[in-house]
């Protein structure tokens, strides 16, 4: 059969906050072998399972919406794949959904984050923060660069429980690292926890569901 694309949605929490993207990639690869998912292998000199993540999650952040695409070479019901995956990891990696992808990862335009922690921000600070250019020093390959991140902030709102919800640019060309955003808003030494909560596509100058 033609390899079938399967999208896996999972939560990454707890001790996995300290595990980098590359380490997560390796963890998933060994797990897929363990639970005998018929994953499609590349056919090069060094065959390896073809698996693609939507986007790396910064170290120390949690997520409720991580996405991972695999291709399977034999028919297997999604409930069965989900059941096997649920037994393949510790509780810190919790499988939420297994489905056929409808959008390509290339179409991801924005990501939503919830920022919680030991800080206090009020409406005035938010309004002031959003009212002008936000210039930060960004380390790049060619040295430090002063950039304005204001255009990459789509929305920012204070929740009644003291947390912040923000939608930031997550497109390939102008992705904004939520860690940089938090430092700009809360200061370098602030104590915060970032949780990625959702993905969006662009549509008619607005944002819409990514699936």
């Amino acid at each position: 059969m033609v390899p079938e694309s399967v999208r896996i949605k999972f939560r990454k929490t707890g001790r996995l906050r300290y595990i980098s993207h590359l380490d997560l990639d390796r963890t998933v690869r060994t797990a897929l072998v363990r639970i005998k998912i018929p994953v499609w292998y590349t056919e090069g000199f060094n065959p390896h399972a073809k698996i693609v993540f939507a986007q790396p999650l910064p170290l120390f952040a949690e997520s409720e919406c991580e996405l991972l695409d695999i291709k399977i070479t034999e028919k297997m019901p999604f409930e069965e794949i989900k059941r096997r995956l649920e037994n393949a990891f510790t509780d810190d990696l919790h499988i939420l959904d297994v489905y056929t992808p409808e959008n390509s990862f290339r179409d991801i335009a924005f990501a939503e984050y919830r920022i919680s922690g030991n800080f206090s921000v009020n409406e005035n600070r938010v309004n002031d923060f959003l009212s002008k250019d936000i210039n930060i020093n960004k380390k790049t390959k060619s040295g430090e660069k002063n950039v304005n991140i204001r255009p990459q902030i789509y929305s920012l709102k204070l929740n009644s429980d003291g947390t912040i919800t923000t939608v930031l640019d997550a497109s390939g060309n102008s992705y904004l690292n939520p860690d940089i955003f938090c430092r700009a808003l809360l200061g370098d030494n602030a104590d915060f926890l970032i949780t990625r909560t959702n993905w969006f596509r662009s549509e008619n100058h607005g944002i819409t569901e990514f699936r």
Partner: protein
């Protein structure tokens, strides 16, 4: 949580979080003994150690025991822990080590000794055993260095001598039963433990010294404990407990793959090699058992690489059968095999074809010495022709890189032997160009890697003094100037670190004072170049009033009582002495399969042993 806050400030926080797939979690309320298994080096190294996996599994097979893992935190983490009042904790429960019943520390190499003291201190546990009352865990040492753990005697309550799969369960069972019947006190427990074979309780033996600093006597303080501690062995490897799963590290470790032990011991008896003597008698697993265990681990880990472990894999008597049954399924599942510890004399085209069937691992051979004369003296029975033939096979198989291991400073060595290292390297390069079916258009790269000889307890060379640093450096420089071929690369070990290893390896109880001085100087991670400081070691020896050369460079008399004579490893001192004398005449000894040389290890038993006397 305090831990969360500090993990943001350290390198590789994944070393300190635990929570890996495959870790063993038990209900604390249903446990009678908690065992903190400590590896005194980084997570990446400790997680790659097979012995630790085997014993973690063996202990956790006991329903009333919970064994957890502990590794040495890197200095950046240590700083954060000390600053924030976080004591050393175990990765599964994150509970402090000081609340455990046992703290087991594996001693794999001498340069980790400073980490041992530092880990005790980080646990808020007094380093000296006499300072620890009933509130503290029993500190037990194990691993290869316990065959002479005298330098650590003041810090440990007990050493487990030999293979621990059975003895550690006996130890924890005794502890649990004494706790249950109310007879437990630490001193009663240690006394009873000392009567079980394989347990050395150093505080129960008095040592007297002669005026010249050598040992006069070892005397047990009770009549009912043995005068010598006999090492434990597993009689039948096929029925010994072996892990059916591994803890899967999230972060990259040194060996992140299936490791399968194929046999224990070695038939060769190279005269410098401690492992080849202390793990005797040779005992093999059956190919069917090896295959079954690998298959099980493959299914439970998902690793795509298998490493077959032993001291010399090509000496496994049924290697051909084993690779045959493994390749029946590993190829299809895209699992690759790697065979470390290949001997040049038994390396074959067939074997190479099999291991290169999916991915080819690098090829390394260990001639150890540059001339036939010295190879005979050290009993490394491999000829130049065999080495060149093996290299030629490798070159024909598409390889252009070969690494050759040698030693500098071996007993009876002359400058001719050192020149011989360069000669052999040059011949291997020539062999490359003589190999018709080599890959055309490439040039060879031959690495000559030279370690410094370190005299080790329980080897025929245990009496030999090490070359001084000056002698070793001179020899290294001499060889460096000899090597002119542009295809040869030369690297060598630091003579200073080798000297410390020699002093600790042949040390007696007086060296506890040196280790304590080192601890006070803040020494740790001495097996890491960035932390090893010879100057600090010199200072620690000086502060303790101990002469390093007495242990490192002195040729011990064959009549004197050696610090490790208290341990009975099966192989007799007579055999070692016979071998030592033969080495002085450059006479080799046949391997165990050719002829029994009466080493004595067969006294210990061992089914499926390759010892003719046991097989009869």
């Amino acid at each position: 949580m305090k831990l969360d806050a500090i993990l943001k400030n350290v390198l590789k926080p994944g070393r300190y979080t635990g929570g890996e797939y495959g870790q063993v979690i038990k209900n604390k309320d249903k446990i009678s003994a908690r065992f903190a298994f400590c590896f005194p080096d980084t997570y990446e190294i400790g997680m790659s150690n097979l012995g630790m996996k085997v014993l973690y599994n063996a202990l956790n097979m006991m329903p009333d025991v919970w064994c957890e893992r502990v590794y040495a935190p890197w200095p950046d983490m240590e700083e954060q822990m000390r600053k924030n009042g976080i004591p050393l904790y175990a990765l599964e429960s994150l509970d402090p080590v000081k609340d455990f019943d046992f703290m087991g520390i594996t001693l794999q190499y001498e340069l980790c000794y400073t980490n041992v003291l530092n880990m005790l201190s980080l646990s808020d546990i007094p380093v000296y055993s006499f300072e620890r009352d009933e509130r503290f865990p029993i500190i037990v040492g194990g691993g290869p260095c316990t065959y002479n753990a005298e330098p650590l005697c003041d810090f440990f309550d007990v050493f487990s001598i030999g293979e621990g799969e059975e003895s550690l369960t006996e130890m924890t069972s005794l502890y649990i039963s004494m706790k249950k019947d109310g007879s437990y006190t630490k001193s009663k427990f240690l006394h009873r433990l000392a009567k079980i074979p394989g347990f050395y309780v150093p505080s129960l033996y008095n040592v007297k010294y002669n005026a010249d600093g050598t040992i006069k006597s070892y005397t047990p303080i009770y009549d009912d404990i043995p005068e010598k501690i006999q090492k434990r062995i597993i009689n039948d490897l096929d029925s010994a407990p072996y892990p059916d799963k591994f803890v899967m590290p999230y972060i990259e470790t040194v060996h992140n793959r299936i490791t399968e032990e194929v046999y224990r011991g070695c038939i060769r008896g190279c005269r410098f090699c401690q492992a080849g003597i202390i793990y005797r008698p040779v005992r093999e697993k059956s190919p069917e058992k090896v295959n079954e265990q690998i298959k099980c681990l493959y299914e439970n880990t998902g690793y795509d690489e298998v490493s077959l472990l032993s001291l010399s894999i090509s000496d496994y008597s049924r290697l051909s059968k084993l690779t045959e049954i493994l390749l029946e399924w590993t190829d299809n599942e895209k699992v690759s095999l790697s065979l470390p510890s290949l001997r040049a004399d038994t390396f074959s085209k067939e074997l190479m074809d099999r291991i290169s069937s999916i991915r080819q691992s690098g090829l390394t051979f260990a001639p150890e010495a540059g001339t036939p004369r010295l190879r005979d003296a050290i009993n490394k029975n491999v000829t130049e022709e065999e080495i060149l033939h093996a290299c030629s096979l490798a070159f024909g198989g598409g390889k252009a890189n070969v690494k050759l291991y040698f030693m500098i400073g071996l007993p009876t060595e002359t400058y001719d032997d050192i020149s011989g290292i360069n000669d052999m390297g040059t011949k291997v390069v020539e062999q490359y160009y003589k190999t018709e079916n080599r890959v055309k258009g490439r040039h060879p790269s031959v690495t000559l890697s030279c370690a410094c000889f370190i005299p080790k307890p329980f080897t025929p060379f245990q009496w030999c003094g090490q070359n001084t640093i000056e002698q070793l450096t001179q020899k290294q420089n001499f060889l460096s100037e000899k090597i002119t071929d542009k295809h040869l690369r030369f690297n060598y070990h630091d003579a200073k670190a080798s000297r410390i290893e020699a002093a600790l390896a042949r040390g007696d109880r007086k060296l506890s004072a040196v280790l304590y001085e080192g601890f006070k100087l803040g020494m740790r991670f001495d097996s890491w170049d960035e932390f090893f400081s010879y100057e600090k070691w010199e200072k620690a020896f000086k502060n303790a009033g101990i002469d390093m050369s007495f242990y490192a460079n002195r040729t011990f008399s064959t009549d004197e009582i050696l610090p490790w004579d208290i341990i009975d490893i099966g192989v007799t001192k007579d055999f070692l002495l016979r071998e030592y004398k033969k080495s002085l005449d450059s006479v080799p000894t046949p391997n165990c399969r050719e002829k029994c040389s009466g080493c004595g290890a067969n006294r210990l038993g061992g089914v499926t042993a390759w010892c003719p006397k046991v097989s009869e």
